[in-house]
């Protein structure tokens, strides 16, 4: 059994840096989170905070000038970072698969989508080409591609963004992965198409019992899809908890700011809350808490420690961790939640 104490995937202290001409970009800089079996973990944060790099690091697909320089990625007890190339290919082939932010660019442009799905099947089964082709067409039908027999012969550029994304999901379904990483699978799509794709992801979880890491910046999608959520800011996780607690009792000032800034359908406010300022430069990070320059709570409570030392990601309640000085004392112990 997998649970919080015995998760399917556990990422510990992950660091992935890019060695550029301008300096070292600390895109992922000590990330910790876990994913339990059959759950959807939402990974949320502003553009550039390191969500995609985290996903690519788990898949071991980070290219030069990027490099994973520290941490552990424990999958069923094994550290993925210690596997050799061929072992990793096997894992990617039948255990963990990924749907990318730009579906059209992640399909192979010179093969038909039918052939690409067939190829996935052939890795795992002894079926004939004809049988696998039929299965591929069935899958395209299942994910709602109109006229699947004809579309199986189409090339990726002949499909709309929503259709290409569905082909990616069809391939993921063919693999029946234990863990699916979906990086902004619906950001480029219209809402009515997004609703279709999210429904497919729900099926994947319910029928194949896959775990899903769902990367998005849309808190609405999180509320509808996720069981637990990890909030990321400037290369670090700042809060992790179950989805209901996240919306009912967010603790980190950044999480609070994010939730308050979203316009909610049917709940019009005269003015929206904002988070003034910008994300710090990942090449030249400030000392202390990375959110300090934008944090209203720090000002309100006059916390001077925030700009001097960085807080730890500390457990404040069962299954709820937060990285903020409001909830811990100088020795790294839990502070009373009086504030």
């Amino acid at each position: 059994m997998h649970n919080d104490l015995n998760p399917l995937l556990e990422v510990q202290g992950l660091k992935t840096y890019f060695y550029t001409d301008d300096g070292v970009v600390k895109a992922v800089d000590g990330v910790d989170f876990h994913v339990n079996a059959r759950e959807v973990l939402g990974l949320v944060g502003e553009s550039g905070c390191g969500k995609s790099v985290t996903a690519l690091s788990i898949m071991r697909l980070v290219d030069s000038p990027g490099k994973t320089v520290a941490g552990k990625i424990l999958y069923e007890g094994r550290d993925l970072l210690s596997l050799d190339k061929s072992e990793m290919i096997t894992i990617r082939g039948n255990r963990i698969s990924m749907i990318f932010q730009q579906p059209q660019t992640s399909l192979n442009p010179v093969f038909t989508v039918g052939d690409q799905i067939v190829e996935v099947f052939q890795i795992h089964s002894q079926l004939s080409k004809k049988e696998t082709w039929e299965k591929a067409v069935d899958l395209l039908q299942l994910v709602g591609i109109p006229d699947p027999e004809r579309k199986a012969h189409a090339y990726p550029h002949e499909m709309s963004g929503g259709q290409a994304q569905r082909v990616m999901i069809a391939m993921a379904l063919a693999l029946k992965p234990q863990l699916l990483i979906a990086d902004e699978p619906t950001t480029a799509l219209d809402v009515t198409i997004q609703a279709q794709i999210l429904n497919l992801l729900r099926d994947l979880r319910n029928h194949i019992e896959s775990s899903i890491i769902l990367i998005t910046h849309d808190l609405g999608v999180i509320a509808e899809m996720a069981d637990r959520v990890a909030i990321m800011y400037a290369g670090r996780i700042v809060e992790q908890t179950d989805v209901r607690t996240l919306f009912a009792q967010p603790l980190h000032p950044y999480t609070l700011g994010l939730i308050a800034s979203v316009p909610v359908l049917g709940n019009v406010k005269e003015e929206l809350a904002t988070i003034p300022g910008n994300v710090p430069n990942l090449i030249d990070l400030p000392p202390g808490c990375r959110f300090a320059s934008r944090c209203k709570a720090r000002e309100k409570y006059g916390l001077s420690i925030c700009t001097a030392c960085e807080p730890d990601l500390l457990s404040v309640a069962e299954g709820h961790t937060v990285r903020c000085w409001l909830y811990q004392d100088g020795e790294g112990h839990k502070a009373p939640l009086s504030k």
Binding site: Q196, V243, F247, V264, L265, I275
Partner: protein
């Protein structure tokens, strides 16, 4: 039948049509037409925001661009303060143009990377030969402060700004000529939520402060609800529903509006609701379905829907809808 526009409106759009030709064959003849905007009518009162919402390719940006004559219309009228912009001769148009501005989704693309942004903002003043260089500079500083930027920003180059700041520069540029009407074409779609909130607040503040009239184009219904007084919903080149903000969001009538609303994810995990999941994709405006264009995806389609096109009806006071469910046969 009452009309959807009336003479008290600052902007009156009547039967606007925009077709794009599709060429083919050896002689590059026109073989077909993409019906991007197909008979669209609406009015906007002074000081009001009309939200125009719909999915990609439905023609909403084409409406905004054609209204300002950035694109040549195929047919229809657009009246600003009673004058038909689309028919006006170039001389009259020049004066009207000052009053009509646009802010694009990606202001970066429309800013010259080699010019300090102060100069880009002053460009409109130069074109219209307004003021001395000194006066122009002061006007630039004035609009910069209106959008929450500092004086020294005028000397900086576009690449030195974040997405939210660039969008403010785009707004400052539109404001510099003191327009009455601004088309906002997806002005916050590319921004993170916290930054989006900032830009939305600025737009609301400017409207109150300067009495501006907006056409706010977006695909995000929650954003449109937040900023609009009235809302028009577009599908495949047509407006399918047009109503006051509260009427539309409390009681959407068109099946497409209902589906669109139910597809918006709500950031509240305790909320359990029945979603309407539409089947299929948006068909191509090159070959729109006969009858009601929404009928192949409509959960409530009836036989007549595929045969005959419905007309706009005032189904409830000030709530217009184009659907056979609300029309006598």
């Amino acid at each position: 039948m009452r009309e959807q526009t009336n003479d008290k409106d600052l902007i009156q759009v009547e039967h606007l049509v925009k077709y794009y030709p599709v060429y083919g064959g050896v002689f590059r003849h026109v073989v077909a037409w993409v019906k991007a905007v197909d008979d669209v009518s609406f009015g906007i009162k002074e000081g009001e925001t009309l939200g125009l919402v719909g999915e990609s390719g439905c023609g909403k940006s084409t409406v905004g661009h054609t209204m300002l004559r950035l694109l040549a219309p195929t047919g229809g009228q657009v009246k600003f303060d009673g004058v038909d912009i689309l028919a006006a001769p170039e001389r009259t148009l020049k004066n009207i143009r000052r009053n009509l501005q646009i802010v694009f989704q990606d202001p970066f693309a429309s800013l010259d990377p080699r010019l300090p942004i102060g100069e880009s903002i002053a460009e409109g003043l130069k074109i219209h030969k307004i003021g001395t260089p000194q006066e122009r500079f002061e006007r630039v500083l004035e609009v910069l402060s209106k959008v929450g930027l500092e004086d020294y920003h005028a000397m900086r180059y576009p690449h030195e700004f974040s997405g939210g700041q660039r969008q403010r520069i785009g707004i400052a540029r539109a404001l510099v000529l003191q327009p009455q009407f601004i088309v906002l074409d997806e002005p916050v779609s590319a921004l993170d939520v916290a930054i989006q909130a900032e830009v939305l607040n600025i737009l609301k503040y400017l409207q109150r402060d300067l009495g501006l009239t907006y056409l706010f184009i977006a695909h995000n219904l929650a954003v449109v609800e937040h900023i609009s007084d009235r809302v028009a919903v577009m599908y495949l080149g047509k407006i399918v529903e047009l109503a006051g903000r509260d009427e539309l969001f409390r009681n959407p009538l068109h099946p497409y509006t209902r589906a669109l609303m139910s597809a918006i994810p709500i950031p509240d995990p305790t909320l359990k609701r029945e979603q309407i999941i539409l089947k299929g994709d948006v068909p191509s405006p090159l070959n729109p379905p006969p009858g009601c264009r929404f009928h192949p995806r409509c959960p409530q389609a009836m036989p007549i829907c595929s045969q005959q096109e419905p007309e706009m009806q005032e189904a409830a006071p000030e709530q217009w809808v184009c659907c056979w469910l609300y029309q006598e046969r």
